[in-house]
Symmetry: C2
Subunit: 301 residues, 2 copies
């Protein structure tokens, strides 16, 4: 761990590189049999992505004084879950997207059957990465496995995707929209913080733990509001998405269509303030968490 | 546990009912939000299936003197993995099957997006079921999680499915065909025995452990050979599949097309003999394992 004070820009660059390197080493090599599947898995995980969830894991670890080597597997497992969800979400039967981060989506670069299997394999591999021995106790590791499975399953991310699908073509009131996003994206964001807590041994119910989880939930919602804003106004070259307003065109309910652009921007800002408020009593050990919250709301892609 | 001698027929009936009851209780209730997803998950797991993998877990436990309560979660988790793989395998982009066990497949009874999510949710939930506290040590539990993830992932079942897809329209020589099936179905069958071993604390490398794993691998291969035989000659009402010879028509390589029917039947028989040979030095504690091997080769559906 770095003991000299590290700027957020340096932290971010270092952690993005570290995450990439760890993902690379935890994924099966692309020459391993069956090679095409492994190549497609690596295509879907490596070489892109903002790595927001790993950054949150390491920033939580920094706030709690956890050695970074204890965060590598939780962060990589979480990012594999995120990556699998994008691969399946992009499928023709789901969002039917051709581009992701400016590159062909997995089913476009390979084929649909391969994309289904890539998602399944990444999801499965995430749990293996988390359950193989590393520096935390078996009890802590099991807590991580359960936390990840809860966040990713039918009461979490996958449940949110099901609600999202059912909502296409419907108007959702703000509470229902927020509930859907809490499941669909919020649970994995919260999970990033929970994994950091589990690695540190701090209970979620403790004062520190519950403040961090409230922080996570504000950040998770702000993340989604900003996503909707970028979908409305974002530059195609920056977002890497096929076109602006795509979700609106597909009649997906969102914060911009519900609140209007200006109000949505104000809402993102107030969620950011609430997230920062949860960290008020913390010192500079929480600076990276603060900067991450700002980054998430102020990003332009 | 039953201490009076129990016939295999009684054991089988009892364990199939026990598995159903445990799966029922470990799955989210179908009224839990989001209800349609949970209903579709239960539709895909409950009320059918031969429960071969749970039977193998409990029969292994019986051979090693493991209390059945320690086998409930491993058996249910393994069966959820099996059920998810069928849901995804039946998808239009994969095998495109309309019927499974004589009922509409998940994407037919619901829709394609729901079937993708049902598979994802079942896969995720399996790891949660295995990682929540039950009577074995955390170290044993982690061993189970890793074992299941290895058997189900890109080096196991999902890898086998990828190889199978790539093989459509190709002739495979017997070693390649066996390698594909070892991955696609054999690894989960082996996993059933590995989970029983893990629950008992017996090492896989021990004399007992390695004999059981060789037994599992013979049984797994025999299972697939018999599947191909049934696909060729089976009665639609018994197999619940849309039509006989379906795999052959789709130009999927199989043991019958490779060896001919008579030879394939002889091969299944010799694999059964080999499996039973691995249990030769065992007493009647292994009787259920013996009967299961016979059942797998002599089944007609």
């Amino acid at each position: 761990m770095n003991h000299a004070p590290e700027s957020f820009a340096a932290f971010r660059e270092r952690i993005v590189a570290r995450s990439e390197e760890k993902l690379e080493s935890f994924l099966p090599p692309d020459h391993a049999f069956p090679a095409r599947l492994h190549e497609a898995m690596r295509y879907s995980v490596l070489g892109g992505g903002k790595r927001v969830r790993p950054l949150l894991v390491y920033a939580t670890g920094a706030a709690l004084g956890v050695h970074e080597s204890l965060l590598d597997r939780p962060a990589a497992a979480l990012e594999m879950i995120h990556a699998y969800s994008l691969v399946h979400d992009d499928l023709p039967a789901m969002d039917n997207d051709d581009l992701r981060r400016g590159r062909p989506t997995c089913h476009k670069a390979y084929d649909e059957a391969t994309a289904i299997l890539v998602g399944d394999a990444l999801l499965t591999h995430a749990f293996r990465v988390l359950a193989e021995p590393f520096g935390v106790s078996p009890t802590q590791q099991l807590r991580m496995v359960v936390t990840l499975a809860q966040a990713a399953g039918s009461h979490g991310m996958v449940g949110g995707q099901a609600v999202d699908l059912a909502a296409v073509g419907h108007e959702l009131a703000q509470p229902a929209l927020e509930q859907m996003h809490l499941l669909k994206t919020g649970m994995l964001i919260r999970c990033a913080i929970q994994l950091g807590l589990a690695a540190s041994g701090v209970a979620e119910e403790s004062r520190q733990g519950s403040a961090l989880i409230r922080y996570a939930d504000r950040v998770g919602l702000a993340f989604q509001v900003q996503d909707d804003i970028l979908d409305e106004i974002g530059d195609i070259e920056q977002t890497g998405k096929a076109k602006q307003g795509a979700d609106r065109e597909r009649q997906k309910p969102g914060f911009v269509s519900l609140l209007g652009l200006k109000q949505a921007q104000g809402y993102a800002r107030s969620l950011l303030d609430e997230a920062l408020g949860e960290l008020e009593t913390w010192g500079k050990e929480a600076d990276h968490l603060r900067a991450l919250a700002r980054l998430i709301v102020e990003r332009n892609r």
